[in-house]
Structure formats: structure tokens, C-alpha cells
């Protein structure tokens, strides 16, 4: 069982089966880790709201992440994106904490499931498209017509632009999902090597495993950052239409 590197991604029911209108919404290990991540975020950031002029460590942490994300949004999407700050903040923190909780051995990585990342990406895609049409009306379609392109190439370019726009949710979700899945599978495979090679040859994969853990923590942060910053870039397209 432990030798199968894909076993860690199995979803199983915790507690009783819950069905509404014949649709299974039972509480699973995935749900458990979503709840744990959300609670951890809420607890940490709630501890960071003490009103003291000189911040303690946890307050410093929450204020630094606040200004980090605030700066990221204003750098990529400008000042118009301010109303969407709390959404992007929640998104970044949720993805980051899910990734990081996944790094704990025997835990479950929520973001390693395509359905979760796809729902997030699809929500962002639909939301950004709606914002774009509200802000610019049908003029938002100008997004697919880059300026300064010769007329001959225009039909081709427009088709390419539309395909690239429509593939945004897929690329966004698959990027996160594939990174998390690949990293965790690799770690499991090397962990399996350690066990199967035993005390003689197990040291090399053990070293790899340790190095991979460090890399995976980096990837966990980086993917959350990329997810958030791509959301900002899409939002920027919708808010400031200049192609």
C-alpha cells in the first residue's frame, strides 16, 4: 500500500455518508484539510490584529503578508484592483496553506486534485470575464484584437487570442495541480526507494528525499504566488484594457 506513490491522493470518507438529493457531499479527508487550512489562516491572522504600535511576531507576520500581497496587486493590476484585494489575499493564503499542510507527512494535499484547482480557476475566469464586460461592455472584445497587427494576420491572431483566453482556466488549474502532484509523487517514490534499498543503498534516495522536501516547500510557496499573480494579471486585463 505504502509503495504506491499515488495512494496518497486517495480521497476517502470521514464519518457518515451525507447525501442531499442523491448527491454525495460527505465529509472527506480533502474536506478536513480544507477546514484545517482555513482555520489555521483565520487563527493566525486573527492573532495578528492586536492593536499595538510595536507589533509582536505574529502581528508582524500578518502585516508583512498584507503589505506583500497589497504591493503585488498594485504592481500588477494597478490601483483599480483594490476592491479585489481581500479575494486575492484569501486565494493566495488558501492555496499557500493547502500546499504547506500537504508537506506534512501523512497529510493530504488539497491542491493536488484537479477538481479543486479547476473550480478555483474557473471561478476566477468567469469572474474576470464578467468584470471585463461590466467595465467595458462589448469593448472588452477588443482584448482579442491586438493593436498594430497587419490586416492579413488579423483573423489568425484573433483565433489564437481567443484560444489562449479560453485556455486560461485550464492552464491555471493544471499548473498548480500538476506541480503539487508531481512533487508529492516524486517524494513518495524516493521514500519508497529508501525502504526498498534498505540500510545499504537507501542513503542516496534519502538525501534526495530531503533535498526534494526543501524544493517542494519552495514550490508550494511559488505556486501559490504564481496562482495569485496570474489572477492579478487576468484582473489587470479586465480592468485596464490596453492591448
Amino acid at each position: 500500500m505504502a509503495a504506491n506513490p499515488m495512494y496518497q491522493f486517495n480521497v476517502y470518507r470521514i464519518g457518515p455518508e451525507i447525501k442531499i438529493n442523491n448527491i454525495d457531499i460527505s465529509f472527506t479527508n480533502a474536506s478536513l484539510f480544507m477546514v484545517i487550512s482555513s482555520l489555521a489562516i483565520l487563527i493566525i491572522f486573527n492573532l495578528g490584529t492586536k492593536r499595538s504600535i510595536i507589533p509582536n511576531k505574529i502581528q508582524l507576520l500578518s502585516e508583512l503578508s498584507y503589505s506583500f500581497i497589497s504591493k503585488m496587486i498594485s504592481d500588477t493590476a494597478g490601483s483599480k484592483a483594490k476592491p479585489y484585494f481581500s479575494f486575492i489575499f484569501s486565494l493566495f493564503m488558501f492555496v499557500l496553506f493547502c500546499n504547506m499542510f500537504g508537506m506534512i507527512p501523512y497529510s493530504f494535499t488539497v491542491t493536488s486534485h484537479i477538481i479543486v484547482t479547476f473550480v478555483l480557476a474557473a471561478f476566477i475566469f468567469i469572474g474576470v470575464t464578467i468584470i471585463g464586460f461590466i467595465k467595458h461592455g462589448l469593448g472588452y472584445l477588443k482584448l482579442f484584437v491586438p493593436s498594430g497587427v497587419p490586416m492579413v494576420l488579423l483573423p489568425l491572431i484573433v483565433v489564437i487570442e481567443i484560444i489562449s483566453y479560453l485556455s486560461r482556466p485550464i492552464s491555471l488549474s493544471v499548473r498548480l495541480f500538476a506541480n503539487m502532484m508531481a512533487g508529492h509523487t516524486m517524494m513518495k517514490v524516493f521514500g519508497g526507494f529508501v525502504v526498498s534499498l534498505g540500510i545499504v543503498g537507501g542513503w542516496l534516495p534519502l538525501g534526495f528525499s530531503v533535498a526534494l522536501t526543501g524544493l517542494e516547500i519552495l514550490v508550494a510557496f511559488l505556486q501559490a504566488y504564481v496562482f495569485a499573480i496570474l489572477t492579478c494579471i487576468y484582473l489587470n486585463d479586465a480592468l485596464n484594457l490596453h492591448h
Binding site: 457531499i25 480533502a30 474536506s31 498584507y66 503589505s67 479575494f87 543503498g201
Partner: protein, 196 residues
């Protein structure tokens, strides 16, 4: 040699584990739609609640804290500037006071010194006057003494000489003649003494 053996062993075990794992695996659990609806439901629930709580309660507090800190820092810098200016003013005042006091002290010292010098001068002058007076008095006294002493001396001389004559001759001599002689002699002696 040992390295080669270990390497071969490693490569072999790699192949073995791979084949064992691929035989066991039943594809990706991610693509099994059994729990998709459940995952979507719980994602929407937890993420939605997280978003609402963060945006309604926690993030405004954090931004408020940051704002108050910023304004507090600006305020503090302002008051610090003000206080620094005040200190500079005070330092200038202090310097001025010290300068003034120095000048005053110098003036005071000079005037006092002048006073003391004047006093000393006055005292010396009065003392000199007194001394002169004393000297004059003493001189007068000396003069008087000189005069009186001469008379006395002559008197004594007359008496002693009369006594001497009496003892030598055994009879009294006329006093007036004797005194004339003695006076004459003493005058001569005095002239000799005084270098006249």
C-alpha cells in the same frame, strides 16, 4: 569496484521498484469523479467562509492597524522635529546666558578689583598721613626733649659740680657763678656735639 557493485545494485532495485509500483497502481485518484461533488461543495463552503471572515473582520483591522501606525509614526516624527527645534533654541539661549554671565563676571571682577585697589590706595594715603603726623609729633617731642634735657643736664651738672666742689674744698660756692661756668661749658660741649 565497490562503487560499481553499489551502482548496479541501485539501478536494479530502481527497476524492480518501478515495475512493482506500476503493477500495483490503479491510475490517478484525481480523475475518479466519486468525490468531485463533495470536494466542490466543501471547497466552496470553506473558501467562501474564509473569504467572508477575512474580508469582513480581519483584513480591515490589519489595514487599520497599518494606517494608525503610519500616522502615529508621522506624528512622532513631527513632534520630534518640533522638540529638536525647541532644544536648539534652548541651547542658543543657554549659550547666550553663559556668555552674558561671563561678561558680567568679568565686569564685576574688574569693578571689584578697582574698588579694592582704590581702597588700598586710600588706606595707604591715610596711613601715610597718619605716619607723617606721628613723625611730626615725634620730632616735636624730640625737640622738646632736647631742650628740656639740656636744661636738666645743666641743672644736674651744676648740682653735681657743686657737690664735687663742696667735697673737694669743703665749703659752699656761690651757686650762680657755678651755674654760669657749667652753662658755658655745656654750651661749648653742645656746640661740639651738634657740630655747629
Amino acid at each position: 569496484m565497490l562503487k560499481k557493485i553499489i551502482f548496479q545494485f541501485l539501478a536494479l532495485s530502481l527497476i524492480f521498484t518501478y515495475s512493482a509500483q506500476s503493477a500495483e497502481s490503479g491510475g490517478m485518484p484525481q480523475l475518479n469523479p466519486e468525490f468531485w461533488i463533495s470536494q466542490i461543495f466543501w471547497l466552496v463552503l470553506t473558501f467562501g467562509l474564509l473569504f467572508i471572515i477575512l474580508s469582513k473582520f480581519i483584513l480591515p483591522k490589519i489595514s487599520n492597524n497599518l494606517e494608525t501606525r503610519k500616522s502615529q509614526i508621522l506624528e512622532n516624527i513631527e513632534t520630534a522635529d518640533k522638540q529638536r527645534e525647541e532644544t536648539e533654541k534652548k541651547v542658543k539661549e543657554f549659550d547666550k546666558i553663559i556668555h552674558d554671565t561671563k561678561v558680567e563676571a568679568k565686569n564685576f571682577f574688574n569693578s571689584e578689583r578697582q574698588k579694592v585697589l582704590d581702597d588700598i590706595n586710600n588706606k595707604r594715603l591715610s596711613l601715610e598721613k597718619d605716619i607723617e603726623k606721628e613723625i611730626i609729633k615725634a620730632e616735636e617731642e624730640i625737640d622738646q626733649l632736647k631742650k628740656t634735657s639740656q636744661e636738666k643736664i645743666t641743672k644736674i651738672a651744676i648740682e653735681t659740680s657743686s657737690d664735687l666742689v663742696k667735697q673737694l674744698i669743703g665749703e659752699d660756692i656761690n651757686k650762680s657763678s657755678l651755674s654760669a661756668i657749667v652753662e658755658d661749658l655745656s654750651k661749648k660741649e653742645m656746640e661740639k656735639h651738634n657740630g655747629i
